[in-house]
Symmetry: C2
Subunit: 432 residues, 2 copies
């Protein structure tokens, strides 16, 4: 039988995360306080995050131990499988070898629990009783609910109202894991009330939900705040994805020439690619990296590399990143997880330095590739992840032209079981 | 790190299915023709099934080779993981060791593809161009769509109208895999038109949908019919589940004292248990078996062991089985996959002979156990599978009373990602 699925025992889960900061071509520009425009110190962040995570945010240690308790929970779904896409290769008639790392086997169905579990753990270590967060379509909110449930931490999720109403199933998942979820804007915070006063029918936005979750945490002694992407410590926790991949490739006679991930805030993309980026920075291998983003929200390919706020209201710190402007409102595409105006500062720096490339794809092409993938590989992918699928198909078709038998690796960050309405829209011709 | 997940390489997928027929305490009573009441011969079935499957239906061979092409598709998700339920054990404070075999990692999210792929393969071998089938909530229809897609066979699914309208996402999955799906009763068949004439607003039933799918196949040269449970060849294909479990237990120092599966038509239950039942029939081990069924559709615990029709209309063959009567209409519980009036003749015989036991559980208890499982093990289970979870919890609590450290194995036949509305109903108190 041909080797379709490269698996490993849980004994082989990497024991350390990889921190790329000491290997960067130049140091990160510091985050600035939104009010004073001065570099942020640990004290500025202490009301929002436990000290361990603030330490990881600025750490220059290359390898950071994964706590045993986190490894134990990881072992519920990790190591995740690395697949050889025989079906897709055959369909494309490409000489390329295509591999994908599948994070949809996690309880929440995406890569998000990799950092949710770590964040909940460090909060628990510092006796935090309650965590607040925001969520758009619900991927992050459900992942954090799952993680908090495990450590007995109360979890409060502010969910963008339009998703709360139109996509009830992520909300159900959050409830099943015992967390609280309210539509945002809510009347629980001053930020929410101010919006509702102006517009009682506001459908909400990620920016508003961030403001509410931050206010919730800042105003309560027992509560910290948690973010599911963008920040350095979030990226750090996600490197487990790429580190596992490297071990899995040792079981094959192949190694990636091209690595592709979808890109929203950057944590999925960075988690898959940074361990491979290290090899490029070390001068060991010449690998091509593609951050696949939506054409309707093209931070990396259409944004500017400059200081900007992390949230819409300008209350969050200002960071140096590729940004479309903090007041940019992307179209309501089905890949809700990629609708962020900015990008991880780490990914941004590497794009700016030319280490990493990026490409933007339109929604119709994405769904065409998603359906081709579902029909040839069996897995129905999340619309977000389908950007990476499409990027891989573009590369594989290029190989077909040139005759090169490149090895292409992409990240399949999640399944699309809760996105089936989007497939209906595509199959009925409603996506143009 | 403790061993939570027992995995195997695809090289370890069993190469043969186990046919229990030669090991039964006494032979099966023959199926009877619905019109003549005479034993059915292969010729009676030939319009509906390919000869290879008719042969498997009556085979007395103990081990039947799994074709290479089927093994290759199995390797997309098989071997499935066997989990040790450390989280659930801790929650219950039981001395019992609880294991579960998880079939939700398949593309369709349940055990159904194990037979769908095999059936599509044998149809393809005999040049069948099109397959018709029925589906209730959509688990089976989506699995067969996935399988047909792989072999380039057209697939036509008659889906019970109320599910078609109320549960659109399984329909979306069927479409994503390129099959056709219509609400039943439809105006495509005489059976459907007859129902619609009497009741234009009929919400349909599994019995009506079976009649339509059978008529579709019987009336077209290019089309065969496919059934997702009950029949001997379906049960045969599902034994891959239990056979893998046995190999996986070799990696541990444990072996099941109790094996529990949920029971609707019987294929999931039989697939998990029959390889273990063989050990009991061979006198090698004394294992307890529990078929967990819904209290509202208690074929095994509340039905009679007698000849009855497989469908509501009395057009399908009559078989000796536990049945509530072919005109029995179960309540519309959330575990739609367990709403069948009858049971597999193989399972029925073994229950009647006292080899296998059964228990019926009410819906409220099922959901309580499902949520406990989701919160301790991370996976949100299908309502059907939650019957097995509940059965395992009952056994584990009994061990807590007696102090016995039994090893309990149950089958987690699918995930509940498309059943989240049922969780909402439970969590909001709407399930009494």
């Amino acid at each position: 039988m041909r080797n379709r699925k490269i698996i490993m025992s849980e004994q082989d889960i990497p024991r350390k995360w990889y921190n790329i900061q000491p290997d960067l071509p130049r140091p990160l520009d510091p985050p600035l306080h939104p009010a004073t425009n001065q570099p942020l110190g640990p004290d500025d962040l202490a009301p929002l995050f436990p000290m361990a995570l603030i330490g990881q945010e600025v750490s220059q240690e290359r390898w950071i131990d994964i706590p045993d308790e986190v490894l134990d929970i990881y072992s519920m779904w990790r190591p995740t499988p690395l697949y050889r896409a025989f079906g897709l290769e055959k369909e494309l008639q490409t000489p390329a070898k295509i591999y994908y790392k599948y994070e949809g086997v996690s309880p929440a169905g995406s890569h998000k629990p990799n950092t949710a579990v770590a964040q909940a753990y460090y909060n628990k270590q510092e006796n935090v009783k309650r965590i607040s967060t925001e969520t758009g379509a619900g991927q992050w909110g459900s992942a954090l609910s799952f993680a908090c449930q495990h450590f007995g931490i109360e979890c409060m999720v502010y969910m963008v109202r339009i998703s709360f109403e139109q996509k009830p199933y992520r909300k159900s998942m959050i409830n099943a894991w015992g967390a609280s979820v309210v539509p945002s804007p809510s009347n629980l915070t001053a930020a929410g009330r101010a919006i509702l006063e102006k517009d009682p029918n506001s459908t909400g936005s990620l920016g508003i939900a961030i403001s509410e979750a931050v206010e919730d945490a800042a105003s309560r002694e027992d509560t910290k705040y948690s973010l599911g992407s963008v920040l350095n410590h979030v990226v750090l926790h996600q490197t487990i994805i790429g580190l596992e991949c490297q071990k899995q490739f040792e079981q094959t006679s192949d190694y990636p020439d091209v690595v592709i991930g979808c890109h929203g805030g950057g944590s999925n993309f960075a988690g898959l690619t940074f361990p491979f980026v290290k090899e490029k920075l070390d001068g060991k291998r010449n690998i091509k990296f593609v951050a696949a983003e939506p054409a309707s929200c093209p931070s990396l390919t259409g944004g500017k590399y400059e200081y900007d706020f992390g949230d819409v209201a300008g209350l969050a710190p200002s960071v140096k990143m590729y940004t479309l402007g903090h007041d940019f409102v992307p179209e309501p595409i089905h890949a809700g997880g990629l609708r962020y105006h900015g990008a991880s500062p780490l990914v941004s720096l590497l794009v700016h330095e030319g280490v990493i490339g990026a490409a933007a794809y339109d929604q119709l092409s994405i769904f065409k590739s998603a359906v081709m993938f579902a029909r040839t590989e069996g897995i129905i992918p999340a619309p977000e992840s389908s950007h990476a699928i499409h990027g891989a198909i573009v590369e594989a078709l290029e190989c077909k032209k040139t005759g090169e038998a490149k090895t292409i690796l992409f990240g399949l960050s999640g399944h699309g079981h809760l996105d089936l309405a989007a497939y209906d829209a595509y199959l009925s011709g409603a996506i143009k």
